[in-house]
Amino acid sequence: MTNPQPPSSHQLAADVAAAEDSAIAAVARAGSAAELDRIQSEVIGKRSALARLNTALGALDPEGRRSAGASINAARSRVGGQIEQRRSMLAVTERRARIEAERLDLTETIALASTTGGGVPLPGGPVTRGRLNLVTQTRDELEDTFVALGFAVAEGPEAETDWYNFEALNMPPAHPARGMWDTLYLKLGKPETVLLRTHTSPVQVRLMERQKPPIYAVMPGRCYRRDTPDARHLPVFHQIEGLVVDRDITFADLAGTIEAFTTSFFGPGIHSRLRPSYFPFTEPSGEFEVTCPICAGVGCRTCSGSGWIELGGCGMVDPNVFAAVGIDPDVHSGFAFGFGIDRLAQVRAGLSDMRTLLDNDIRFITQF
């Protein structure tokens, strides 16, 4: 473009216009920020056409130089504006493209991570989290509920003597009430002296033998009865009992404790009620029912339409039991209650057949 001849003002004006048009067209063609940087130096840099036209100004008269200089600057500034506009447009496009390229299907990640058992493996290893058994979860939750009500948790042997399972509980040998529990006896000692406990009540006896009142405790544990298994009964099952012995404990305290447990464990809207029953180790004795937690008392299949679920037995500790463990019934009184942990788990989980619990089917265990 160098012209050996001194340029005329007209010629220069035409060159500036051409250089500007070409620069603007180049800017518009820039496909990326990097390309735009390169074009920028080409069209308005020190070696650009416009810069070279600037050096040609010297040949013009002062008037012509001033006006040509002004038109070159104006052209540069317009090209510069075009470049900035183009730059911001390219930035938006590039960000859009990067985001699109980085897109991940996170649901795919979750799907890849999940196994049939429901466990999610941690990165770097095939290890999946296992599950606590439904029975354990129920037991822990029951323990926690009673602990929050101020109870301790006591345990004892599963194989017991006749004394702890029956006699100390106000059931001398041949007492007709023994028929309420079908007992499995062990081939140990004299016939029918060593047995598998039919309830966790022996733990109550042991606790009262070794600890003076006040006693506030629950006794969870495994029990045994010579019952043919069916949808609602297992010969090996789990039970939780409670025992309170203190001064001035009343039947109203029993009712209140059961109500407090019921609402605390099942949630608000679930209540309890007592009706008379019989156990040799309590007097007065009762059964307690709770609002059906499945239908909230409306009536459903679980509660046979009654709106209530029979949960367990309870009553005021019989003075004969106190006598057997050396507690003075004139000074102390107390209450006891008990119910099945598996049965409760069954009701809450809507489990149709209790025998499923003993299969240890991994597809079942990992549901909870």
Partner: protein
């Protein structure tokens, strides 16, 4: 105990609906197991007269019968029975009737002849069969006008039957009168016994001799001779009541005996007086070796504590309170009976019944304790009923009542303090309220001062003898639901889980976190299970298992968990990781009588990467999470485990468990494919182990230097031993030691163990000289103690 409402109404005017009555029963502690609505089942069955009987033209065994329904029009019915005659009244199930068995009556053609209904046999109507009669129910000629509904003709009105679950403490509620007494009290209705007008005592009827030799077994025995007895079917209303109450009618003598038992709770027995040698009864202890043939035809061997009823010549004719004998049973030809109404000692009856495994309604009542004073009323009821039930010329002799006052229980009188009632129940009941509640069920109260009553317990409540028992009656009749709940006010000192219980939960969480799910297997094993698992068969046995496959107490969790694996493998779940915490039982040591119980933790896995190493990893996770200190894993060949892949876990005070791989023969015997990892630990021992202290150690701000050393070590040197040597030798500067590779490619009974030692000082940057010294010392020690050579 089934209680028909119509029967209860003999005692009080119950007019509430069934639901209201059921609520009242429940509030009394008489649990309603079921409510049955009966009597609507005979709708559509009518009394008709037979007008004509003629043969069926095309069938030998069917006859055509014309009946009159009251409109004089003959209606043709086809019938297979032969026991009826023209003029008889019989029941007709009319078209559209659904019989109790579910059969629906429709107009049908039988071999070309129409049948417009069905003439019914008693069984088809749900009525008692008449002994010796096969065919239709032929009704008494004057029973009702033709066309009357059968239910009305037989006085079988619709009824409600409550099936009540009577708790063992309430023998008084094992009869209609007792149930009605409670129910009347709850509903504030008057209770009264119906008026009886039995035949007066006839002096010409003989008196039996009654001799009770052992009054401790039989405190009271009454005998009454009845003549003019005609054995035959019971009237329909009586048979119906028994049927509703769940007993099968047999003949009037047996039925009346059952009726009186259900009505008043007094079991009675009628002996054929002619069959009793010597015209009397002896009640005594059985002699060892003596036997009697009971009503069911079985010869029963007696024991010395059994109470037997004998004839006057002391020959046993029945087992007291349990079952009568075959020889003295009443029969169709019996005309004179000796009626027994006795009170037997409950414990004696329970003992004999349990030993002979003989259950009867009588035993059920006697062993719980009947009312010792009800015999008189029962005899009166029996005599009246039997006369009205087909023995119109019945005569009764005077009752011989052998009663030993020392042995007949005397109902106690109890002092009841109002303050005590309210203190135990948490109520504020007044003296008069308490008295009224008790009086309503026959507990007679006398005020003996302010706030004190003397309460006479009625003889039908043997369960009640103490103040607390009477308080229960107050609570029951007041209504449990009316006692306002409160919370115990006492201070609790020992709430919460014990350390053991908290740590047991922690162990569960650690194992679940390591990917194992919790199982619980049954405590029972089958014979052979332990041997199959390679374990000692020495275990506690169950005396009376429900099934032989559940007759052994587990001494290990292995068999049960192997069965659980097998269960899952069979259901296309080949990768299973389980753990269990449960008790195992060792036979008692020394002169102990109860088994030793050990709460045991076990983990088992199959499929995937399961093998002995996985068991070791699980243990490592557990030991690390529990911050165990000073616990070693020592290779050892162990029962049930792969001999080359098993180890014992040993703590500072001895072994506490095992880990490794289940012996392939054992897993194969249990049908589990592939390798099975196994870990078993005595849980209390584990939880009692010493832990690394929670004392904080300062974290050094100086750089660490790692030294990698690979040693070729003979297989006889366990990695744990080499690690221990390195740890000891490297001393205080060793921050951590990690085995990062084990390589066996160089052949021979040796392998390469590559360790990374991280050295760091809390005070300064270590110098090359210091690092070189540690390196040399470690190489030398491993060489000296384990024959290890540095791998170049």
């Amino acid at each position: 105990m089934r209680a028909p409402l119509s029967w209860l109404r003999d005692y009080a005017p119950f007019d509430a609906d069934a639901e209201r009555l059921a609520t009242a029963f429940s509030g009394l502690g008489l649990v309603v197991d079921g409510i049955e609505l009966v009597g609507d089942d005979l709708t559509g069955v009518e009394v008709v007269r037979i007008l004509d009987i003629r043969p069926h033209p095309d069938a030998d065994r069917i006859r055509l019968v014309d009946v009159d329904r009251g409109d004089g029009q003959p209606l043709q019915i086809a019938c297979g029975a032969t026991n009826m005659a023209v003029g008889d009244l019989v029941p007709l199930a009319t078209l559209g009737t659904v019989l109790p068995g579910g059969m629906e009556i429709a107009r049908r053609k039988m071999r070309g002849e129409w049948s417009n209904g069905m003439l019914c046999a008693p069984g088809e109507l749900g009525l008692p069969e008449v002994d010796g009669v096969d065919g239709l129910l032929v009704l008494a000629p004057d029973i009702a006008p033709i066309g009357t509904s059968l239910a009305e003709a037989l006085d079988l009105r619709s009824d409600v039957v409550f099936d009540l679950d009577i708790t063992p403490n309430r023998p008084d509620a094992l009869c209609i009168a007792g149930i009605a007494r409670d129910l009347a009290a709850a509903l504030h209705l008057p209770f009264s016994y119906p008026w009886l007008s039995g035949p007066a005592v006839d002096g010409s009827v003989p008196q039996p001799t009654v001799s009770v030799e052992d009054p401790d077994l039989c405190p009271r025995f009454t005998g009454t001779v009845l003549t003019g007895v005609e054995v035959g079917p019971s009237p329909p209303w009586l048979a119906r009541r028994l049927t509703l109450a769940g007993m099968r009618p047999i003949n009037n003598v047996v039925d009346v005996s059952n009726y009186v038992m259900l009505d008043l709770g007094q079991p009675t027995h009628a002996y054929d007086f002619e069959q009793l040698s010597g015209g009397g009864i002896v009640v005594r202890r059985a002699a060892e070796g003596e036997a009697v043939i009971t009503l069911d035809g079985v010869t029963r061997a007696l024991a010395a504590d059994d109470c037997v009823i004998c004839d006057a010549k002391s020959v046993p004719v029945g087992i007291a309170g349990v079952m009568g004998g075959a020889g003295s049973e009443t029969s169709e030809t019996t005309t004179t009976v000796l009626l027994e109404a006795a009170y037997f000692a409950p414990m004696a009856i329970a003992r004999t019944g349990t030993r002979l495994k003989l259950n009867s309604e009588a035993r059920h009542r006697f062993e719980r304790g009947i009312d010792p004073e009800v015999a008189g009323r029962a005899i009166e009821r029996f005599v009246t009923l039997l006369r009205d039930a087909g023995s119109p010329s019945l005569r009764r002799g005077s009752t011989v009542d052998e009663r030993c006052e020392d042995q007949v229980p005397t109902p106690p009188t109890v002092v009841l303090r109002t303050e005590r009632v309210n203190r135990l129940l948490g109520t504020s009941l007044g003296d008069d309220v308490i008295a009224a509640l008790l009086d309503s069920i026959g507990f007679t109260t006398h005020s003996v001062g302010d706030g004190v009553h003397s309460v006479a317990i009625p003889p039908w409540r043997p369960d009640s003898s103490r103040e607390v028992d009477v308080i229960e009656e107050v609570a029951r009749l007041h209504g449990y639901h009316r006692i306002q709940p409160t919370m115990p006010a006492g201070v609790r000192t020992a709430a919460g889980l014990t350390g053991y219980q908290r740590q047991r939960r922690q162990v569960r969480e650690i194992l679940a976190g390591a990917g194992l799910s919790e199982a619980w297997t049954t405590t029972f094993l089958a014979p052979g299970d332990l041997e199959r698992a390679g374990l000692s068969p020495h275990a506690v046995e169950i005396e009376n298992p429900l099934d032989r496959s559940e007759s052994i107490l587990r001494t290990s969790l292995l068999p049960g968990l192997l069965k659980a694996l097998r269960f899952n493998v069979d259901r296309q779940e080949p990768e299973v990781r389980l753990f269990e915490i449960g008790r195992v039982f060792e036979p008692p040591a020394g002169d102990g009588v109860v088994p030793e119980e050990i709460e045991t933790l076990a983990a088992i896995t199959c499929g995937g990467d399961a093998d002995g190493r996985l068991a070791a990893r699980i243990w490592a996770v557990l030991a690390d999470a529990l911050r165990l200190e000073g616990v070693a894993v020592v290779a050892e060949s162990l029962a049930g485990l792969h001999p080359g892949r098993s180890a014992r876990i040993v703590g500072p005070d001895g072994p506490l468990g095992v880990l490794g791989e289940v012996d392939p023969d054992v897993s194969a015997a249990y049908g589990v494919p592939g390798r099975v990892a196994w870990l078993s630990v005595d849980l209390p021992h584990l939880i009692g182990l010493p832990r690394r202290s929670l004392q904080a150690r300062p974290v050094s701000r100086y750089p660490a230097s790692d030294i990698d050393l690979a040693f070729v070590v003979p297989d006889t040197s366990p990695a744990a031993a080499v690690s221990a040597t390195i740890t000891t030798t490297a001393g205080e500067l060793l921050e951590s030691l990690r085995l990062f590779d084990a390589y066996r490619g160089m052949g021979g009974a040796r392998r390469s163990l590559a360790f990374r030692l991280r050295l760091r000082s809390p005070e300064r940057t270590l110098t090359d000289t210091e690092l070189a010294a540690v390196r040399e010392a470690v190489i030398e020690a491993v060489g000296a103690y384990h024959g290890g050579e540095l791998r170049r």
